[in-house]
Symmetry: C2
DNA sequence: GCAGGTGATGTCAGAAACTGTCATCACGGT
DNA sequence: ACCGTGATGACAGTTTCTGACATCACCTGC
């Protein structure tokens, strides 16, 4: 028998999700989460750089999916088409990992907590930067790549928001298509 | 003579700017800033909700300028034109308050510090939400308003970044025009 | 003038978020 | 059987942020 139960990280993530949901982020201490997961507070901070990160430590980050999708996009597509392809790819992979219910629960917590919202925005900015770099890798000029990457992020955020809130009955990838079409109409 | 020197807040902002510039955000404690400003740490936290906020407490927030600019936009303009008008308005008012040098120095500090970058992204998201609300106030549908607001934010961020980095010789409002034109070309 | 209210500040105690350091001890290989 | 490794615990310490109360120049009304 092991000295410690396995998957301490997974237990901490689950504990944090439950505690944040029932008593809120602010009234949940890192020690609370650790105790519920059967470890010490010190161990919590060994696994997560800070208290917020426990909700943002998925194995596959969006960055790679988007970057991959851009790299695989059609050769003669414009920057916007490429980044939409990347974002759609990320959407497809996201629904394979999480149910709409899970995503909605997590989104509810993040939305209710400014500190968590900040972290989410930073992750999104990182994804945007990665998308811009991937576009430039394919020969798009810096200015256009930046704007296209931001547009892609906007499409993703919009599609995700509508998906988890139930404003649309579409699944996430189709919601991305819908938002992308709306963006095209805008110009 | 007063019991205390006037403009404690201004002294704290100046002290923070100097200390962050020379020794970095992380190695500057709230107590350091307070001491250099001639007040106590407790007074620092009475003026600023947290340590980061000392760099984000300008009197005129971008929200209002953008909102105002959208409200004043041409009647028969599309959503994107309206939000660009709002962003341009914010750009005009920003250059009246800060020189390019000041903006660049501050941007350097924020860029170098993830914690500050998070706060900046949150402010930008707040501005985006305000822009979306202003657009909806003028009859734009929620979906279009959200995407247009995000596009406006992208234009502003891009223009600002190019302005402070010196990638363009244009002044900020003209840099906004340039970025807006590039966005139009994208579609 | 002067009594009392007001507001900005100081002082102090304390919770919570992290960080550094060292000890422990199952496990896996030699 | 021995030793290195890696994850964890234990503990002290710093920093961020909050609550409670005291202080005292300034203003206001009388």
């Amino acid at each position: 028998m092991s000295r410690w139960e396995p998957d301490a990280r997974g237990r901490m993530v689950a504990a944090a999700l439950e505690l944040f949901a029932v008593q809120g982020y602010d009234r949940t201490t890192a020690g609370d989460i650790a105790a519920r997961a059967g470890v010490t507070e010190r161990t919590f901070f060994r696994h997560f750089a800070d208290k917020r990160e426990v909700l943002f430590s998925g194995p596959g980050s969006l960055d790679e999916m988007v970057t991959q999708g851009i790299a695989a996009a059609d050769e003669d597509a414009g920057p916007l088409q490429m980044v939409i392809a990347g974002v759609r790819q990320a959407a497809v992979e996201l629904v394979e990992v999480r149910t709409r219910e899970q995503a909605a629960e997590r989104a509810r917590i993040v939305e209710a907590t400014p500190a968590l919202r900040e972290r989410e925005l930073l992750k999104m900015a990182t994804m945007t930067a990665a998308a811009q770099a991937a576009l430039m890798e394919r020969g798009v000029a810096e200015l256009s790549a930046g704007l296209a990457a931001h547009s892609g992020a906007a499409v993703f955020q919009t599609a995700f928001s509508r998906w988890v809130s139930g404003e649309t009955d579409l699944d996430l990838p189709e919601s991305v298509d819908e938002a992308a079409a709306a963006l095209r109409d805008l110009c």
